[in-house]
């Protein structure tokens, strides 16, 4: 009866109450926030250390001079930077064309064939391959046969790491090209290869490039595959007027590895600076991939 005579008293309250559902929601929200903060602590502290300690030593000389030995002061890692570019370049020259062609096969030519399933499986396994094994592979394939540590050996090792990333991302990118778009091309009288060259590859290209850039960024930062393929060198890859390709070659990653264990302050500072440069390279590559990764149309 009271319900009918005094409706106000009977109406449920719409006020927020901190109990039950609301309380649980609050707790969960707090936990999620805390998780996000904790997850960013390592990243931010690494960046902070890199910028403060590496930035302190950053100057023009580190890019142009050779690594110091022992108690020498000054010096830089110009040769290591050049070596990294050369080896990543070799790796990309191998992995990108092979990877994209393999992806065309996987996505367009024989997506359900035995060969495709086998290569897809192999590529997925390779993405989880400990990178030092890529080094072992290149050591056996290139160093043993040529009898020397060299930039091509390092490039092959890095290519092994890049290849599965390129294959899998390129395959995904091509699969994203809508079937109706391919139908339109067939309907215009395109052959299968024209559909692939004129429609599938151009339409998927931004996403393919993103994958390539990610692979490049990964390769640039790898140390283990280079330790016994390219080794290290205190000299320029380009010296005495010729390209010393079949010699041990320096890289930023191996320089960091070597110098960070040394008991000399100068080398330690250079290792920090080299780390900062390496991170900046990865950052630039990522930014470039974002720019290219935007579809043109």
């Amino acid at each position: 009866m009271t319900n009918l005579t005094s409706p106000i008293a009977a109406l449920p309250s719409l006020q927020r109450k901190f109990e039950g559902r609301a309380l649980r929601s609050l707790v969960l929200t707090t936990l999620v926030w805390a998780g996000a903060l904790i997850a960013s602590v390592p990243l931010i502290s690494v960046l902070y250390m890199l910028i403060t300690r590496g930035g302190a030593r950053l100057s023009l000389e580190v890019f142009t001079e050779l690594p110091p030995t022992g108690f020498e002061t000054g010096g830089g890692f110009g040769n290591a930077l050049a070596g990294t570019f050369v080896m990543v370049g070799i790796a990309a020259a191998i992995a990108v064309p092979v990877g994209i062609m393999a992806a065309v096969f996987l996505a367009e030519l024989g997506p359900d064939s035995k060969l495709a399933n086998a290569s897809r499986f192999a590529a997925k396994m390779l993405t989880g391959l400990p990178s030092i094994l890529a080094g072992v592979f290149a050591y056996a394939l290139v160093v043993m046969t040529t009898g020397t540590y060299s930039a091509p050996a390092g490039g092959v090792a890095l290519a092994v790491l890049m290849l599965p990333i390129v294959v899998l991302t390129a395959e995904e990118s091509m699969k994203m090209v809508p079937k109706i778009m391919k139908d339109a091309a067939y309907g215009m009288g395109c052959t299968r290869s024209q559909v692939i060259w004129k429609i599938v590859l151009p339409t998927g290209m931004p996403a393919i490039l993103t994958g390539v850039m990610l692979a490049v960024a990964r390769a640039a930062g790898e140390t283990a595959p280079l330790l016994f393929t390219a080794l290290f060198s205190n000299y320029w890859i380009f010296h005495d007027g010729s390209l010393a390709v079949m010699n041990p070659t320096a890289s930023l990653a191996v320089l960091i590895y070597n110098f960070s264990g040394m008991p000399f302050d100068n080398q330690l500072e250079l290792a920090w600076a080299a780390s900062l440069v390496l991170v900046m390279i990865v950052l630039v590559v990522n930014i470039v991939s974002r720019i290219f990764g935007k579809p043109k149309y």
Binding site: I180, A184, Y186, M188, P202
Partner: protein
């Protein structure tokens, strides 16, 4: 163009049987019928688009330019250059509007003024006035109706003999539909058109001849076949078959 088909298979599945569909020059031939009656299958067989489907097999003949489209040694790729197609979903390429229309011309290594032909095709598709100032803009940025007219422009740029339209308006709103329908009537002056439509009103509005397909489920599978074909007015006002009459009066769909 004359299509006499005995059987179309997808693998072991008999999709369409016994249909004779003559398609007259400079007329619009409408294909109507309930879902799954094979009208799209028949249409897509005319330019051998179904060759892309695994297990597809065609028994019969499609006479076109004095030859059999399914004859020995005929290249489906060449057939498709003479028989253009517009699909249910607008499917422009992710290129500029200009490049979309120029695509077929470049594919055929057209020697003349591409710009001229692109303009002509866009005018033919009643899209020129809307896009003439943004030919470099992506074809995908247009509205659905505009995209479909772009696809029509793309199809007519190479001046094919026949245009196959597979439910070209089913993804469009009524206003865009009206525009595309007006366009079809305009286009039949220069082209021979075969049109699959779900919409009987559309067939009445634009088709000169109408083919009614239905599904035969008596053999335990769904096999489409041609029930009857004739001038659109006869099919809708005075159908010969009871089934046609039942379909157009909405007794089944």
């Amino acid at each position: 163009m004359d299509c006499k088909l005995d059987k179309i298979f997808y693998g072991n599945f008999l999709a369409v049987r016994d249909s004779h569909v003559p398609i007259e020059k400079n007329k619009i031939t409408g294909f109507i019928g309930p879902s799954g009656c094979g009208k799209s299958t028949v249409l897509r067989s005319l330019n051998r688009m179904n060759d892309l489907v695994k297990g597809f097999r065609f028994e019969g003949h499609v006479h076109f330019l004095g030859q059999d489209v399914y004859g020995k040694g005929v290249d489906p790729v060449v057939v498709r250059r003479y028989i253009g197609m517009v699909f249910q979903q607008p499917n422009p390429f992710s290129m500029s509007i200009f490049d979309n229309v120029a695509f077929g011309l470049r594919l055929n290594r057209y020697k003349g003024d591409i710009g001229d032909r692109v303009k002509h095709a866009l005018q033919g598709a009643a899209l020129w006035d809307e896009v003439k100032d943004k030919l470099k803009v992506s074809g995908l940025s247009l509205s659905g109706g505009q995209q479909q007219r772009l696809c029509i422009a793309r199809a007519i740029a190479t001046e094919p003999e026949v245009l196959l339209l597979d439910e070209p308006c089913s993804a469009l709103d009524p206003i865009a539909t009206r525009r595309v329908e007006e366009l079809m009537v305009e286009l039949k002056k220069d082209y021979t058109i075969a049109l699959v439509t779900h919409n009987m009103q559309q067939a009445i509005r634009v088709a000169d001849t109408t083919a009614f397909f239905s599904v035969d489920i008596s053999q335990g599978t769904r096999t489409g076949y041609l029930v009857e074909m004739g001038p659109t007015t006869q099919i809708f006002d005075n159908p010969r078959e009871q089934m046609t009459s039942d379909y157009i009066t909405g007794k089944f769909s």
